[in-house]
C-alpha cells in the first residue's frame, strides 16, 4: 500500500442527492474515500447502494451535490466523464461481457481504443491478467462458453486491463451459483492486497470482514452507519443495522 498517499481523498462525495422521477433514491450522501482504501457497502435491496457507486462513474446522473474523483469534478461534460471512466473501472452483477468478442478481445478493447495502446502490448498485458485470475487457457473462447464464475473473473480482468486507480464492484457474486462465489471472492481478496482503491457493494459478509477497512450500511437512500468491520459486526449502533445483521447472519 502506498502509505504516502494515505491521507489523500481520491473520491469525495458531498451532499449527493438523486431522484428517479419523484422517488428520492439517494439522500444527502457524504462520503470521502482515501486512496487505497477498501470499502464495502451493504444494505437491504432498494437501499440505494448500487445507485451510489454507479454515480461515481456517472452511469447514473444525479441532481444535487458534487462528486470529485481523483481531482476531476463530475459534470455533464463528456470529456470529464470519459477521463474519470478511464481511471475508474466497474465490475457488474451480470458480468456484462461482450458476447460477440472472444475473451482476449473483451480485455484488449479498452486499452486499444481508449488508452491507445498497441494491440501486442494490450494482448500481453491481458494474458498476464487472465493468468492472474486463473483462466489464461480460455483466452480464445467466447464469454458464453464459460461458467458464471469464470465470466466474472474475466470481467474483473477486463476492468484491470486499463490499470484503474479505483474499482467499483456492483454485487459481483449475486448472480453466481453458490459453488462459484468463492473463486470470484478469492480474486477480489488478492486484489485488495495490492493497494487499489475498491468500493464493493456486496452481501458477502465474510468477504467484508476479511478485507474491508470500512463498512457502510445504507437504508432507504441514506448512509445509516459507517464503521470498521470489528465494530460494525460486533457492536452495531443503529437498530436498523442490528436488525439487518440479525436477518443475514442468523442462518
Amino acid at each position: 500500500m502506498k502509505t504516502e498517499n494515505n491521507n489523500v481523498n481520491i473520491i469525495q462525495i458531498s451532499d449527493l442527492n438523486k431522484w428517479y422521477g419523484d422517488f428520492h433514491a439517494l439522500k444527502n450522501i457524504n462520503l470521502n474515500i482515501k486512496e487505497g482504501e477498501i470499502i464495502v457497502v451493504c444494505g437491504p435491496s432498494g437501499s440505494g447502494k448500487s445507485t451510489l457507486i454507479r454515480c461515481v462513474n456517472f452511469l447514473e446522473k444525479f441532481q444535487e451535490g458534487e462528486i470529485i474523483v481523483n481531482g476531476t469534478q463530475l459534470t455533464d461534460d463528456v470529456a470529464k466523464i470519459r477521463s474519470v471512466r478511464s481511471e475508474v473501472s466497474m465490475v457488474f452483477q451480470h458480468f456484462n461481457l461482450f458476447p460477440h468478442l472472444s475473451i482476449i478481445d473483451n480485455l484488449t478493447l479498452a486499452p486499444v481504443w481508449v488508452h491507445n495502446e498497441s494491440k501486442e502490448e494490450a494482448r500481453d498485458k491481458a494474458l498476464k491478467l487472465l493468468d492472474r485470475v486463473g483462466i489464461k487457457d480460455q483466452a480464445e473462447k467466447y464469454p458464453n462458453q464459460l461458467s458464471g464464475g469464470q465470466q466474472q473473473r474475466v470481467a474483473i480482468a477486463r476492468s484491470l486491463c486499463t490499470s484503474p486507480k479505483i474499482m467499483l464492484f456492483d454485487e459481483p457474486t449475486s448472480a453466481l451459483d453458490p459453488e462459484m462465489i468463492s473463486e470470484v471472492l478469492d480474486v477480489m481478496i488478492e486484489l485488495a492486497k495490492e493497494g487499489i482503491t475498491m468500493i464493493c457493494v456486496t452481501h458477502e459478509m465474510g468477504f467484508a470482514r476479511k478485507v474491508a477497512q470500512r463498512i457502510i450500511f445504507m437504508d432507504e437512500g441514506q448512509i445509516v452507519e459507517e464503521n470498521d468491520p470489528e465494530t460494525f459486526f460486533h457492536h452495531p449502533e443503529s437498530d436498523r443495522l442490528k436488525l439487518f445483521l440479525d436477518q443475514i447472519l442468523t442462518h
Binding site: 470519459r82 466497474m90 461482450f98 479498452a110 481508449v114 473462447k141 467466447y142 464469454p143
Partner: protein
C-alpha cells in the same frame, strides 16, 4: 437414508425412431391429420401434372437448327403460329432472352455488362476464400467500395474510351439488379443512422428521425416513385434535368432506408442495457460504443429481417415500370407486343417469376448461412 449408484447412459427404446414412426407422427397422427394428408396429396395431383405438361411435356423447345460434331440437330425455329396455344412456347424466351437480360443496351457492348455479372459472382467466391485471410477486412472494404464504382463505369461508360451508354438504354434483369443493389447498399447505412437517431437522447435528432421513418413508412413506394419522377422535376425548372433512373434510385433508397431503420432498431432494442453500461464504463465514446459493441450485436440479430426487407425491395423494383423504366417485367410486356409473338405474356411472366425466385431464394439461403456463421451465442 441411502446412497445411490450413478446410472449408466442408454439408447432410447427402438420404437421411438425410424421412418414408420416419422410417418405416423407427422402425417397420420389423428383423423384430422390423415384428412389433411390426403387433401394435400389430391391438390398436388390436380396442380402438378397439368403444370408440368404446360411447361415441359407439351411445350415447344424448338430453338432452331444447330450442328454438333458434324451432326445436324433440330429444325427451323418455331414461330408464334406453329407453337400452339395449349402449352408453353419457349422459343419466344429464347429469341428475346437478350431483351429480358439487357433491355435496349447496345448488343455489341453487352460484354461490359457480362463482366459486371462475372465480377458480382466472383465476389461471393472471394468472400469465401478470404474468410481466414489476415487482412480480410481490407479485402472486404476494397470490394465494397471498388465493385460499385467499377460496375458503374463499365455499364455506364465514359472513361478509358468506353462508349457512353445512357441510362434510358439500360433495361431488363440488369436494370432490376442495378436498382435493387444500389437501393439496398446505399439505404443500409442511412437506415442504420436513422435507427441510431431514433434511439438517440438528443431530442432534435430523435424527433426528425422518427418523423422521417413514420412518414415514409406510411406512404406506398409507388407514390414516392411518382413524386420523385413527376413532382420533383417541377421544383427544378432551371434546366436541370435529373436522370430518370437517378430519380428512381433516390426514391427507392429513401424509401428503403426507413424500413432498414425499423429493422435495425428492433435489433438495437434487443441489446441488454448492461452492454451499453459496460461500454460506457470502460470509457468508449459514442461512436466506438456503437461501432464496436452495440451494432455488431444488433445487426447480427437483425440479419433475417434485413434480408427479408431486402427481398421485399428486390420485388418492389418491378414497380419502376410505372414511371417508364424498362426493367425485366416491363420487357415482358413490351416483347409480348411484338407482332411476331403476340399473346406470349404468360411465358414471359413465368420466366420472370423463375428468375426472381432463383435470386430471392438464393438471398434467403445465404442469409440462413450468415446467421449460422455469425451466431452470437457460441454455446457449443
Amino acid at each position: 437414508m441411502a446412497v445411490y449408484e450413478s446410472q449408466e447412459l442408454r439408447k432410447p427404446p427402438i420404437s421411438q425412431v425410424g421412418i414408420v414412426l416419422w410417418l405416423r407422427v407427422n402425417l397420420f397422427s389423428s383423423k384430422v391429420n390423415i384428412g389433411l394428408t390426403f387433401a394435400a396429396l389430391y391438390m398436388l395431383y390436380v396442380i402438378i401434372p397439368p403444370m408440368l405438361g404446360w411447361m415441359i411435356f407439351d411445350a415447344n423447345f424448338n430453338f432452331g437448327e444447330f450442328s454438333f460434331l458434324g451432326f445436324e440437330f433440330g429444325e427451323i425455329m418455331a414461330t408464334n403460329d406453329n407453337c400452339g396455344r395449349a402449352a408453353a412456347c419457349w422459343p419466344f424466351i429464347y429469341e428475346k432472352f437478350d431483351m429480358f437480360v439487357y433491355g435496349f443496351y447496345p448488343r455489341e457492348l453487352v460484354w461490359r455488362v457480362d463482366i459486371v455479372f462475372a465480377m458480382a459472382a466472383s465476389l461471393f467466391v472471394i468472400v469465401r476464400l478470404a474468410r481466414n485471410y489476415k487482412h480480410k477486412n481490407k479485402v472486404l472494404l476494397a470490394m465494397i467500395i471498388g465493385f460499385p464504382i467499377a460496375s458503374f463505369f463499365l455499364i455506364g461508360g465514359g472513361v478509358f474510351g468506353l462508349e457512353v451508354v445512357k441510362t434510358h438504354q439500360w433495361g431488363g434483369l440488369m436494370l432490376t439488379l442495378v436498382i435493387a443493389s444500389v437501393g439496398i447498399i446505399i439505404s443500409f447505412p442511412i437506415g442504420v443512422l436513422l435507427a441510431l437517431g431514433r434511439q438517440s437522447n438528443l431530442r432534435v435528432i430523435n424527433f426528425f428521425s422518427t418523423i422521417y421513418i413514420e412518414f415514409i413508412r406510411a406512404v406506398p413506394l409507388i407514390t414516392i416513385l411518382f413524386m420523385a419522377s413527376f413532382v420533383l422535376p417541377l421544383f427544378f425548372t432551371g434546366g436541370i434535368d435529373f436522370d430518370k433512373l437517378l430519380r428512381a434510385l433516390v426514391a427507392i433508397t429513401l424509401f428503403q432506408a426507413a424500413y432498414f431503420a425499423e429493422v435495425v432498431r428492433g435489433g438495437l432494442q434487443a441489446i441488454p442495457t448492461g452492454q451499453y453500461e459496460a461500454a460506457d464504463a470502460i470509457g468508449l465514446n459514442y461512436v466506438q460504443k456503437n461501432a464496436l459493441i452495440i451494432l455488431p450485436q444488433a445487426l447480427k440479430i437483425s440479419i433475417p429481417n434485413i434480408v427479408g426487407s431486402s427481398i421485399s425491395l428486390f420485388k418492389d423494383t418491378t414497380l419502376v415500370l410505372i414511371i417508364g423504366l424498362m426493367d425485366m417485367l416491363a420487357m415482358v410486356n413490351m416483347t409480348a407486343n411484338d407482332i411476331n409473338w403476340l399473346g406470349r405474356e404468360t411465358e414471359g411472366f413465368v420466366f420472370v417469376t423463375m428468375t426472381m425466385w432463383i435470386f430471392l431464394y438464393s438471398m434467403s439461403r445465404y442469409s440462413k448461412k450468415l446467421e449460422v456463421r455469425f451466431s452470437t451465442d457460441h454455446k457449443n
